[in-house]
């Protein structure tokens, strides 16, 4: 590769870099099985979910997590039991208890959905919590971290046991 060609490529990339784009997220995600196990345990701390008999979780865009959750079908969370895990971009018409998404794409409509239907919104990207998701289970510098958006939680009608404050960082208080 000649110096000339490399310089031209470098120049093109520099010009490319000058074009403004929106926000991107680049935090390392937790492994799916670990996220799934934490999510099921966390649901024990949410009173509405805890009271119900069956828990349904819909995963919008993270197939690995859906697989991880699928392995946990039957697991108990308080008095409730995880009975159904679904996957797909289309939001479930028959409702769900938890909606999980990884990407900020269509965030507004996802958040509208969870707030209208009283569904708990969960993500693995902590920055999406700042944009309206309620709960993030994320890789916090080499350990699992939990971030809870107080306002979003309220608007989704969540009622948490006090123990949540022992494990989660609260955003927006």
């Amino acid at each position: 590769m000649s110096v000339f060609r490399l310089n031209v490529l470098a120049l093109l990339l520099a010009v490319f870099c000058a074009v403004p784009f929106g926000k991107a997220s680049d935090s390392a995600a937790l492994p799916a099985d670990l996220t799934a196990a934490i999510l099921v345990k966390l649901l024990e701390l949410e009173l509405n979910v805890r009271k119900s008999q069956e828990i349904r979780i819909h995963v919008v865009d993270n197939f690995q997590l859906a697989e991880g959750l699928q392995k946990m079908v039957g697991a108990r969370s308080g008095s409730a039991r995880l009975t159904q895990v679904s996957f797909g971009e289309a939001l479930p018409e028959n409702g769900t208890d938890v909606l999980f998404f990884s990407s900020g794409e269509n965030l507004e409509s996802l958040v509208d959905y969870t707030r209208q239907k009283g569904v708990l919104s969960v993500t693995n990207d902590r920055w999406l919590v700042e944009s309206g998701a309620t709960l993030a289970i994320y890789n916090d510098e080499g350990l699992p971290g939990i971030l809870l958006n107080h306002e979003s939680s309220r608007r989704e009608g969540r009622k948490w046991r006090p123990e949540i404050l022992e494990v989660a960082e609260v955003y927006g208080e």
């Binding site: 990339l13 670990l34 890789n139």
Partner: protein, 807 residues
């Protein structure tokens, strides 16, 4: 036709005794740990109910939040089936994309430097980097398998991994490093361990999503490059592409630590190089001839530039490129890995013997098709077909015994490989797998050489078609404008002359069983391999994993592997390097204890291993055995950040202790390997790798990495080692050094800006020479030893800037 070769009984017995003794010791230590005789800091024992809660489903939330994500990364590297690092039957380390980004690793050689268990030498010559894993010295990086997405990248002919700047890093999702022999999984040549570069998989993206990342690299010594990764998914189709282009002038020789044989004036010395390459006077015309005036016509013209610069002066240009691509459609996957490195020889060789400014090339291509399918129920079948070529060669400007030559070299090789792997999981607890492999290899025996000594390489003299008749090797004092240095004719790079062809066919089969029961996991596998030219070899592995609590795991593993003699060692000799068609395969046996303990702020990992090797190949001979034992301590820590609104400070501390002993030592006076048990050499007993990462608010990050390597004895072929050189009174070691690198990162939205400083403290140091390392340190005399006995390293700070855009 070669005859079958058997492993000598004596060597087998020695190895067996050694392993038995060590086994006993390790079992005692392990049993003590399991029995609680040794307290584990921060480790949680059984829960109050007496039930050991060690799998994710049964852990409490508190325990789950103490689990290190890196232990739950899914990996195929250790067993060929998906399992977490926590369950893998080996000592493993994962360097993920975030660590690569934060540490400013823009190439694999950067990454290797910070790993525990490796003695890494920046050779900057015939090989850019030479790494000895687990205390085993070899000429190059030939006993560690380098994989990209599970496909072997080591050269087919000399088995070396060229670890330079060619691989795109922006497409790398993680690098998995496995320590210890893995012959039961990989068959031949997974001798000391495996480095598996795993690239991104966009089939996991949302349908219709695409991503791109492009980096521009600018650095000292006119270093510049681009590193691009693209990926996307549309329905059942997905793709990932990575491209790296890298050019550099590399450091000037004044930027390296001083070493007498890298004095630039040697390169133009007319006594060594004559007029033409050196500075001199044309005896025919009486005109002055400058350095690099190959035709001795009084001026060094543009057509006499060999590789960007004239000969007779120091230059070390580098030009690398690499491409990694995968396209997937449903169960099918098509992959391509192609790269090429053209690099000068830097300070690798004595300037009295070799000119550094001519290009040496490594080139590799592979194309593969994978197909994974579920046959029925719990049975799945994975198939792969791989075609690959690898090539090494280039130009070589030599002064040997005051004879000068400019020669061209080439070794081209290709192979076809097919593998079928069946996995059957009758229950959640039990997994069986088995498979067969066939590989057909067309390999060069000798280098194809033009313009070199008579009888060297596949020349016209021994049935080839090249022109090494010796007539182009000229005494330095006879080079004139009428008898100039001869520029070699071009070589067809991608062919093997029939007379130089060596065909090998490999067959392999393996079975493996993995049994999970409660907190225990047992993994056993055995593999049979047969090469059409060698004995068949059986490589077993047995491992037991015990998760004694949610925080603490123990592993014990015994594994074997074998290393085929490379075609280079069997046939590739010439007057400068021996070969021996009677070489036996090397054998490795390794027993290892491992422990992982996740305390609140620190995760500790400890490996204690003992390994025995026999039929060690050095200097084209089997030179007895080696025994290595060592400790690898790996810890990751995480502490609160003293800066407001900033994530925790994280880091790692690795300590490696290695004791490596060899049964035979090279006698530099007689040129014979003598039975003498002593340190192998070139292996530092103590190595420390320390990294601290400091996030500064949301967008900034500072990362500092320090590598301290202790004094080390040199390899016995190195004439600086007095106990293997009767002609030498004073021993000389490679002295300890501390190298500190820093990387500052600013990341906002879709941009990333990185600034890397290597060798922050401007450490001046020399590393052990590679191969025979025979040039010595008497700079007043030229022993024609070629490879420098100690290799100077860049003593200046080196600055690199990265600008990255993500879409």
């Amino acid at each position: 036709m070669l005859t079958a070769r058997k492993t000598p009984k004596r060597e087998t017995a020695i190895a067996a005794r050694s392993v038995l003794g060590s086994t006993l010791l390790l079992w005692v230590v392990w049993a003590s740990l399991l029995g609680g005789a040794i307290p584990i800091a921060g480790g949680a024992g059984p829960s109050e109910t007496g039930v050991v809660e060690s799998d994710l489903g049964s852990m409490s939330l508190g325990d789950l939040l103490r689990q290190r994500p890196e232990l739950y990364v899914d990996s195929n590297t250790a067993s060929g089936v998906s399992e977490t690092i926590r369950d893998a039957p080996a000592s493993m380390l994962v360097v993920d994309a975030q660590s690569i980004k934060r540490r400013g690793y823009d190439s694999l050689d950067d990454l290797l430097e910070g790993l525990p268990g490796f003695d890494t030498i920046t050779a900057a010559g015939t090989m850019q980097t030479v790494a000895y894993q687990r205390g085993y010295r070899s000429p190059w990086t030939q006993r560690t398998l380098l994989l990209v997405n599970g496909k072997v990248e080591n050269n087919l002919w000399n088995h070396s991994a060229q670890i330079s700047r060619q691989y795109p890093m922006s497409i790398v999702e993680r690098v998995e490093v496995l320590h210890g022999p893995a012959g039961a999984v990989y068959g031949p040549n997974a001798f000391l361990g495996v480095v598996n570069v795993v690239t991104r998989d966009s089939s996991r993206l949302k349908d219709g999503a695409h991503r791109a990342e492009a980096s521009v690299i600018w650095g000292d010594y006119d270093s510049r490059g681009v590193d691009i990764a693209l990926g996307g998914r549309k329905g059942a189709f997905s793709y990932d592409l990575g491209l790296k282009l890298y050019d550099s002038d590399e450091a000037g020789i004044d930027d390296y630590s001083e070493w007498g044989f890298t004095d630039e004036s040697l390169l133009s010395d007319p006594d060594r190089w004559g007029p033409g390459i050196g500075v001199g006077v044309d005896p025919v015309s009486g005109n002055d001839s400058p350095a690099g005036d190959l035709d001795v016509d009084g001026q060094a013209s543009a057509d006499e530039i060999v590789f960007e610069e004239r000969l007779g002066q120091y230059s070390d240009p580098t030009s690398n490129y690499g491409f990694v691509g995968e396209a997937r459609l449903g169960d099918w996957e098509l992959g391509i890995v192609r790269w090429r490195t053209d690099e000068g020889y830097g300070p690798y060789y004595s300037f009295a013997d070799a000119q550094p400014g001519v290009p040496w090339t490594h080139e590799s291509s592979q194309i593969y098709v994978n197909h994974d399918t579920e046959l029925f129920g719990r049975v799945s079948l994975a198939s792969e077909v791989v075609y690959r070529t690898s090539r090494v060669g280039g130009l070589w400007a030599e002064s040997f015994g005051d004879n000068v030559s400019l020669s061209s070299w080439n070794s081209y090789n290709e192979s076809w490989r097919m593998e079928e792997r069946l996995t059957y999981s009758p229950s959640e607890e039990l997994t069986f797998s088995g498979g067969v492999r066939y590989e057909h290899r067309d390999l060069s025996k000798l280098y194809f050489i033009n313009n070199y000594w008579e009888g060297a390489g596949a020349s016209g003299a021994n049935g080839g078609e090249s022109s090494s008749s010796g007539s182009a090797v000229l005494p330095a004092d006879q080079i004139t404008s009428e008898n100039p240095t001869v520029v070699p004719p071009a070589i067809d790079p991608n062919s093997i002359a029939d007379s130089n062809l060596w065909r090998a066919q490999d067959y392999g089969a393996f079975v493996q069983g993995i049994w999970d029961r409660g907190d225990w996991r047992m993994s056993s596998s055995v593999r049979w391999d047969e090469n059409s030219n060698f004995d068949s070899v059986v490589s077993p592995r047995l491992a037991l994993v015990h998760h004694s609590s949610s925080r603490t795991s123990f592993k014990i593993a015994y594994g074997e592997a074998f290393q085929e003699p490379s075609p280079k060692d069997l046939f590739g000799g010439w007057n400068g390097r021996a070969s021996n068609p009677g070489l036996l395969s090397e054998r490795a046996r390794n027993l290892e204890l491992m422990m992982t303990c996740q305390a609140d702020a620190i995760m500790h990992g400890l490996s204690l291993f003992t390994a025995s090797y026999c039929n060690v190949i050095a200097g084209a001979e089997n030179v007895g055995g080696r025994d290595v034992w060592g400790i690898e301590y790996k810890s990751n820590f995480r502490v609160p950040n003293f800066l407001p609104n900033s994530n925790e400070i994280t880091g790692s501390f690795f300590y490696t202790y290695t004791d490596s002993r060899a049964d035979m030592q090279y006698n530099n006076a007689t040129g014979v390997w003598d039975p003498l048990r002593a340190a192998t050499g070139d292996i530092a007993p103590h190595k420390v790798n320390f990294t601290v990462n400091l996030p500064v608010r949301r967008h900034w990050n500072a990362n500092v990495a320090a590598n301290w390597i202790s004094d080390r004895k040199l390899f016995s072929q190195n004439p600086l080692r007095a106990d293997s050189n009767p002609d030498r009174m004073r021993n000389r070691d490679a002295e300890s050094y501390l190298k500190v690198n820093a990387h500052f990162l600013y990341e906002r939205d879709r941009y990333r800006l990185g600034f890397k400083i290597e060798n922050l403290l401007e450490e001046e140091y020399l590393l052990p020479g590679v191969e025979a390392a025979a040039s010595g340190d008497d700079f007043s005399r030229d022993f024609d030893g070629f490879q420098n006995s100690l290799i100077p390293q860049v003593k200046e700070r080196v600055y690199t800037l990265f600008v990255t855009l993500k879409i």
